[in-house]
Symmetry: C2
Subunit: 428 residues, 2 copies
């Protein structure tokens, strides 16, 4: 569904008087705020419906152009790699010398918020503008969300070679265009994909800033945190086979109702998730999808399918959770005389981030008088893709009420500025 296209492009929102003053020698929250607003104005939707920047849309390209233009005014050069990611370095730096890499993404989910991805691009942009000459390359990864082409982290995965030309030719957007076709207008070049990959010799490490997308920091009144691990994720499909029958004429005692059995499985999963989260607060277990057959008001269902999403930074907790999940389903199956099967759909191990970089972030924060706790990331980020190749960490900023992928998403500008100051003191 194509919505009314709101003012695409940032030029409507930059006061002309500001154009000449984009370089300064300190981190400036007002400049960060203006970046956030100008990128928000690059919108495929109307603001009341949130912010929509599908990858390779005009709104997305306008946001990318804004960052390139701001960086250029600050004396930086840019290039677009074969996968469509933007790389920006200070003019005085070569493309070969080892710099720190920092960035995130500008594409959004449909009707998303202003901060997801954007704040992680604006942070290194502000570092380039502040007259501190950081040894820094800014990166804008393409298609992080996966809502345009159906697979997340595509730009970073393609850059490290974890997806290839065939994948990018197969994945299509809602217009039926492949990533290669739609991206051709914006620098994607399949012929250079195999050669233009990440070259670790050109980087000292990778730092990504991102909103937490959870309530932890906000509720703890904590502005910023370092990310020590990206959670492992196991996903399961549970199938409960009962005995379908007439809802009116089958007595309660005679039922093998898979909906009732599934309710006990879901309640038990919540208990397991809560128990394990006492060992580590970042451990979570979720049933997000339910499919009932035949799903009719007057029929006892014959079958219920459930999805389970289970994350933890701790491999031992992942093992324990899986054991408890299997025991739970077995017990309910025996108790109720029906069949419950459980199958693994996904198993991504926890991705520990670089301890040395985390230590440097904490020290830099201390030198600025900021306490920087170390947390785990529940969500996946481009940082998880880059971590096997470069020393990598992340900075999380607090998300108001934990709201994410929603127009109400909000993070404090001051928190972005604080994280930027920590990055400035770290990336040297």
């Amino acid at each position: 569904m194509k919505r009314y296209r709101w003012k695409i492009g940032f030029r409507t929102c930059i006061p002309t008087t500001a154009r000449g003053s984009v370089i300064g020698n300190t981190i400036r929250p007002d400049r960060i705020e203006r970046d956030i607003e100008c990128i928000a104005a690059c919108n495929d939707s109307t603001p009341d419906l949130g912010y929509s920047r599908p990858t390779f849309s005009e709104a997305w390209a306008a946001a990318r152009d804004y960052v390139i233009e701001q960086a250029s005014l600050a004396g930086a050069k840019s290039r677009i790699d074969a996968a469509g990611n933007v790389h920006i370095r200070p003019d005085r730096r070569t493309w070969e010398e080892p710099l720190w890499l920092s960035g995130s993404h500008l594409d959004s989910v449909p009707s998303g918020g202003k901060f997801d991805g954007v704040s992680g691009v604006v942070m290194p942009l502000e570092l380039l503008r502040a007259r501190i000459d950081p040894p820094l390359e800014l990166v804008i990864f393409a298609e992080e969300e996966g809502t345009t082409f159906g697979m997340g982290l595509l730009g970073s995965r393609a850059w490290v070679g974890r997806v290839g030309r065939d994948d990018l030719a197969r994945l299509t957007n809602r217009h039926g265009e492949s990533y290669l076709e739609a991206g051709a207008r914006y620098g994607v070049d399949p012929d250079r994909l195999d050669t233009e990959r990440i070259d670790a010799s050109r980087y000292r490490g990778f730092l990504e800033l991102h909103p937490e997308q959870g309530l932890g920091l906000w509720n703890d009144n904590q502005a910023v945190a370092a990310v020590g691990t990206i959670n492992g994720r196991r996903q399961y499909r549970i199938e409960v086979e009962g005995r379908g029958n007439h809802a009116g004429s089958t007595r309660m005692a005679d039922r093998r109702d898979p909906v009732a059995a599934a309710a006990h499985v879901i309640a038990g999963i919540e208990v397991i998730g809560r128990d394990l989260s006492e060992g580590c607060g970042h451990t979570v277990m979720t049933v997000g999808r339910i499919a009932v057959e035949p799903n009719a008001i007057n029929v006892i269902a014959s079958r219920v399918g459930l999805s389970v999403d289970f994350r933890s930074p701790d491999r031992a907790l992942l093992e324990e959770g899986e054991r408890r999940l299997k025991r739970l389903t077995e017990e309910i199956a025996v108790d109720r005389g029906l069949n419950i099967s459980i199958s693994s759909e996904d198993d991504q191990p926890p991705e520990p981030l670089d301890a040395e970089l985390v230590r440097r972030l904490v020290e830099a924060a201390e030198s600025l008088g900021v306490r920087l706790p170390t947390v785990a990331s529940g969500a996946l980020h481009d940082a998880a893709i880059i971590a096997p190749y470069l020393p990598t960490s992340m900075l999380f900023i607090a998300s108001r009420d934990g709201i994410s992928h929603h127009p109400d998403e909000y993070s404090r500008i001051e928190d972005i500025a604080t994280a930027t100051r920590i990055a400035a003191a770290t990336l040297s």
Copy 2:
């Protein structure tokens, strides 16, 4: 989807030697069994996929013709009323004199069983054939199941005037034909609908035989039961509003997960249903439909909708169940800090059947040495439509394992014969 059409028509399955011997002076199980098989052969599907006789299909018409022909060989005449229901009386009876009415339906759900409806038509057919001269009219109601035109009990409702010409012109089958259009080939005549209604002066009462569609009789090793009440039915829609969020980054303690809340509602509904069924075994409460938004593996849902189907022959239990259901949802909403609304979708009071007719059935069974318990019907039947107009009851026969609306549906021929003998001793 149109399946391969199996041999439609009964002539393939009647041995020619049987043609001359359709009249006998006793209830004969072999004749009942042949009826069941001949009607099963009138099938829009292949037998491995069960039995499909959509209303106004060739298979349905062939089954109807079989019954008319068998009755005609036994010396009975037939006519089709304006709504498409078939009426059959012994030749020697007028259409005006008060007779007992007995019958059921020949239409089936897609891929249904052999017995649902059919056994209730075969029973009065056997009474007409046995040389006992019953004061009996056989009726075949059209579109009982509601799976062809989307509303159940249509033939009986039209006959009593509870649905009219406009309704029948609006309801369509999957070919887009209205009930009036599709039925025109089989005797439906909208011009006669208003005048050709049920006339209570022509009937002594109505008796319908039907498989129980539940496990009660089968598990109690009880062949037949009289039906004293058709359950009242209340249906509700429950909406659980939670707080959608990222499944990976929202800590267990920070969640307002409507799926987990809904699981506790479902588990509580089962407890209420079981508790109330101790007061009356025919009281049942079912959640058959669940709708989760957005229903994605990695998203904590924002909203869950549940359906509740609640039946009891006892008005006081219906009241108590509704009170407990409301208290359950209120408690879970308060406990979990989210909003749960409950709204009524349907409220049909219990339909008490005729106590005098039930008493006569029980006495007649006793005279045959058969114990006849009185049960409630959980499902709706044409008898519920006829009950306000004529003294009405039903005979239930046991359903193996309670399986209904499925190719594996099975009832014992001997049980149909026993019920037919009870009817013969009652309907005089």
